[in-house]
């Protein structure tokens, strides 16, 4: 089985500052990794996903994440955040051959002016 740990439940940051949201996973098989974002009163929206190939994945809204197999991490980064990035972010993993997506507990990013 797979599991995901999001190390920070809340991350406050000032506008235009860089941000990193941390995600570590555990799995006995190869995995696919995802980051979703949930804006208030909306559904989860896919930011980016790592399937294979380049370990640096670029997503929407200027976000990127790097897959690090040795550290079993998939941290999400953005060099300069905007007020509109305020949302909850979820890291998720699927083990190869499964369809059962496992999520972390979420990180609430608050961008302050």
């Amino acid at each position: 089985a797979q599991s995901v740990t999001q190390l920070d439940s809340q991350v406050p940051v000032f506008e235009e500052a860089p941000v990193e949201l941390r995600c570590n996973y555990s799995s006995s098989v190869s995995v696919y990794l995802f980051w979703y974002v949930q804006y208030p009163n909306q559904g989860l929206q896919l930011l980016l996903k790592y399937l294979s190939g380049s370990t640096l994945v670029k997503g929407i809204n200027g976000f990127e994440a790097e897959f690090n197999k040795s550290q079993t991490s998939f941290h999400l980064r953005k060099p300069s955040v905007h007020i509109s990035d305020t949302a909850e972010y979820f890291c998720a993993v699927i083990g190869t051959g499964n369809n059962d997506m496992r999520f972390g507990a979420g990180t609430r990013l608050t961008v302050k002016p």
Partner: protein, 115 residues
């Protein structure tokens, strides 16, 4: 193209009552998933339909939960009788292909409160 829709957006019921949640996936998506998030915790998988068949229901918490997808279109999730611990946000998602790599598109969720 319409996204995944869920109804109702909120439901408040008393312990022992019955509630039915509905999910309409993206048209043409054969795969439909139900998830639940209990307050502040991780989103947990409940079950997966491929068309009208239950592919995986390993996440269903107990037999008070019944999911159906007659005709392979919309799905319902019934909780009967509801208990306090059933409170949370229930998400539905759909995907076109039956592969792990296919993007799952999520609905806005139904917030269920059991008093």
């Amino acid at each position: 193209e319409a996204g995944v829709t869920q109804f109702p957006s909120h439901s408040v019921i008393e312990k022992g009552q019955t509630v039915t949640l509905r999910c309409d996936p993206i048209s043409g998506h054969d795969n439909l998933y139900w998830y639940r998030r209990v307050m502040g915790k991780e989103i947990k998988f409940l079950l997966h339909f491929v068309k009208e068949s239950k592919q995986d229901e390993s996440g269903m918490p107990n037999n008070r939960f019944l999911a159906e997808r007659t005709g392979g279109t919309y799905s319902t999730l019934k909780v009967q009788p509801a208990e306090l611990e059933d409170s949370g946000v229930y998400f539905c998602a759909s995907s076109a292909w039956r592969t792990s790599t296919d993007t799952q598109y999520f609905g806005p969720g139904t917030r269920l409160t059991v008093l």
